[in-house]
């Protein structure tokens, strides 16, 4: 398949503005990277001399590790700017932090931040590439890319796929990035959850929106659960976890309404028995625990595409 060989921008801020070609470029590159992860002989220092810094204003050991391993496998130097212990803790503004890192010759800044648009702010203020590792309720593009990679591996394509994303849509950057990517690739996405956690405004993403879980799951190829929290912004959005799981959780009975062999996914960490019942999480359709390697592969692909002079 012909298509893009480079990403158009210096940054990866979200899937919202990526073209189909760009997403497929990343997924194909990630597939080649995956083969290299197990084969230590094929790990090559193609990004040696490049420096990558992670800035995690919100903790996520798993995502941060995944980025750092990806950098190391490609020979880049990966450093974590211990945000909790550095000057940013003393009130240094993000723009200033970025400008300082830029002056030190950092090639890529990987940022996770609790507010929407923080990676965009950083990207505007620095020459280095910026990768969004999750911002507020906006996007988590690398998580979505690894989800897309898993779907691609299992189902072989996206065109006409029916994907149900269930749970706290309003606060989920994973749901949003997945929706942007899947819809761009030709899948049909239904977002479902209690009315307090999924508003009709999300139709603006090009997705269907419903409060009926069964309707969303019916005939779907992929069922994706999202982590829910009882309290957001100090206000409860549903009465309690028991009521949530009985009305909006996915169990084996509900999963039967999906297509035979439909994939069960969850970005983790999963509340067992709440979003998904234990038998669904551990069942044969679940790919939840098989996505971690794809996370490293996708991040290697991104690093290479954004940092290497040759492109891919």
């Amino acid at each position: 398949m012909p298509g893009a060989t480079r990403l158009s921008g210096k940054d990866l801020l979200g899937l919202k503005n990526l073209t189909e070609d760009e997403i497929m470029l990343i997924l194909r590159s990630a597939a080649r990277m995956k083969a290299r992860i197990d084969d230590t002989g094929k790990r090559s220092p193609e990004l040696s001399g490049k420096s990558v810094v992670t800035l995690f204003y919100e903790n996520s050991t798993r995502t941060k590790m995944s980025f750092m391993m990806a950098g190391k496998y490609l020979g880049a130097s990966a450093t974590d700017l211990g945000v909790a212990t550095s000057s940013v803790n003393k009130g240094e503004r993000l723009a200033e932090t970025g400008i300082n890192l830029d002056q030190m010759g950092v090639n890529m800044m990987i940022i996770r931040h609790q507010t929407t648009g923080a990676p965009h702010l950083l990207a505007r203020n620095v020459r280095a590439s910026v990768v969004n590792a999750g911002d507020g309720a906006n996007e988590h593009p690398t998580q979505a890319l690894l989800d897309l990679m898993t779907i691609y591996e299992r189902l072989g394509g996206f065109d006409g796929l029916k994907v149900a994303i269930l749970g706290d849509i309003s606060h989920s950057r994973v749901a949003r990035s997945n929706a942007f990517g899947l819809i761009r690739l030709g899948a049909k996405v239904t977002l479902a959850g209690p009315a307090t956690l999924v508003s009709g405004s999300f139709r603006a993403l090009g997705a269907d929106v419903t409060t009926n879980i069964l309707e969303a799951v019916e005939g779907s190829d992929v069922v994706m659960g999202l982590r829910i929290q009882l309290e957001r912004d100090k206000a409860p959005n549903f009465p309690n976890l028991r009521e949530y799981s009985s009305l909006f959780g996915v169990n084996a009975r509900i999963l039967k309404h999906a297509k035979k062999g439909a994939l069960v996914m969850h970005p983790g960490p999963v509340n067992r028995g709440v979003e998904l019942s234990a038998d669904v999480i551990d069942g044969s359709q679940s790919v939840i625990y098989q996505q971690v390697k794809n996370g490293v592969a996708v991040r290697m692909a991104l690093l290479k595409l954004l940092l290497s002079e040759e492109g891919d």
Binding site: L94, H113, T115, T116, G117, R124, S201, A204, D233, A235
Partner: protein
């Protein structure tokens, strides 16, 4: 003081139903005569206004001049310069400074700084509650004696309805109107832009229309109950326009204002790079809300245009959208935006436009300005509406540059501002 003859311009003066070619003679700081072919004899200065429009000096009911306390954003002097460069001769300064304008000492300070700058009449507005903390009344009576023109908690609403009602009752005793910023903080929650499709696309929490409308309704009810005049600030939603229209149909003593950004932009204009120059409170609303605001201006529901000039330092806006302060500057772009967006589109006649920007604000304040009537202080602004230009924040006289209108093409460039007969902006250049 010398006499000035403004010759050959198109005078737009809604108080006297004039829209046509007239000369205007200013003598000793007051309006002498408006008529055709006035003689140049004896005039100390003749200003050639041919091709230009000549209007009563603009009056803004809603500016933030940040002094005392936030002088890095704006001072009364730089704010006055911005006002003069926008064609404004009178502005009302909101009390959310540090310290807040909640006693007569701060009122006197604001008046003193304004007099020193001498470029614009700056009328102070007093806070409704001490320190704008929403706990107890501010010194409303003493501030009335010192010269405040209204009471306002702007920046937020008085959350407690009983306290607000007391403040209204007390303020009305001194003939002061309540200028209400209408926002239910609980409903607005952690919202950062208008709730709707654009917020969903950008992943920002939404501020729903109802957060504005429930407080508009409450304040109308309480104002009517207390006999206090109510002025609703920066109306941004269709529902708020309805509330105001309904109150007016019942002859309630309510008025309202709309800001240029709300009748010019919508939430669809909030850019994908999260530029905080598009963050203000109330936020840019939907296209339907914008249309309702324009209809409200056209049918008289909304009485005036006020800028909500809210300067912030570049560093304060160059942060995460959620952490950026609300507000945009407005004094130096208001007329051009209103003229281009409302008059040139025939939403408002030029006469009505000037009414909304000068005469009606004067009436709400109960001051004898906003008209080119013989004997009034000669506050006059002269604009060139012929040539289109791009808004360039680098040229602002304000200390701040936080505008969402950089590069926007408009018509209505200020040429002269005359304050009480003194030319403070002369052919586009400020004179101090």
């Amino acid at each position: 003081m010398a006499s000035i003859l403004i010759k050959g311009g198109r005078v737009i003066d809604p108080a006297n139903y004039i829209d046509g070619g007239r000369d205007l003679l200013i003598r000793d700081g007051i309006v002498g005569e408006v008529g055709e072919n006035l003689s140049e004899d004896g005039a100390d200065r003749v200003v050639d206004a041919s091709g230009l429009i000549v209007v009563p000096g603009l009056i803004d009911l809603h500016v933030h001049f940040r002094q005392p306390g936030h002088e890095h954003k704006e001072t009364i002097e730089t704010g006055s310069r911005a006002a003069a460069m926008g064609g404004y001769t009178t502005v009302c300064a909101m009390p959310n400074t540090n310290p807040a304008v909640d006693n007569e000492v701060v009122v006197e300070y604001v008046k003193l700084m304004a007099a020193r700058a001498g470029l614009c009449n700056v009328l102070p507005i007093g806070a409704a509650t001490a320190g704008q903390k929403g706990e107890r009344l501010s010194d409303i009576g003493s501030m009335a004696r010192a010269g405040i023109v209204a009471v306002s908690e702007d920046g937020k609403s008085v959350a407690g309805s009983a306290l607000l009602k007391t403040a209204m009752k007390y303020a009305s005793q001194f003939g002061l109107p309540m200028f209400s910023h209408c926002e239910d903080a609980d409903l607005a929650g952690s919202g950062q832009m208008n709730a709707g499709a654009r917020a969903a696309l950008l992943g920002l929490n939404g501020i729903p229309n109802d957060s504005e409308e429930v407080i508009v309704a409450r304040d109308i009810i309480l104002a009517n109950a207390t006999g206090c005049r109510l002025h609703v600030c920066h109306i941004s939603t269709e529902g708020a326009v309805w509330q105001l229209r309904s109150a007016k149909s019942r002859q309630y003593a309510v008025t309202g204002e709309a800001a240029p950004h709300h009748f010019t932009l919508t939430d669809e204009d909030v850019p994908g790079d999260y530029d905080a120059n598009f963050k203000m409170n109330p936020p840019l609303r939907s296209a339907a809300d914008r249309a309702a605001v324009i209809r409200g201006l056209a049918d008289g529901t909304i009485d005036c245009i006020a800028t909500d000039h809210a300067p912030h330092h570049y560093d304060e806006k160059n942060v995460e959208f959620a952490n950026a302060p609300n507000g945009v500057v407005g004094l130096e772009t208001a007329f051009a935006l209103a003229y281009t967006g409302l008059a040139l589109t025939n939403a408002l006649s030029p006469l009505t436009l000037i009414e909304k920007m000068s005469l009606n604000p004067a009436r709400i304040l109960g001051i004898n300005r906003g008209a080119l009537s013989r004997g009034l202080p000669a506050d006059v602004s002269i604009f060139d509406t012929r040539e289109e230009y791009a808004i360039d924040p680098a040229l602002f006289a304000s200390k701040a540059r936080n505008t969402p209108f950089a590069g926007r093409r408009v018509r209505g460039r200020l040429k002269y501002t005359i304050l009480g007969g003194k030319v403070v902006v002369d052919n586009g250049v400020i004179r101090d």
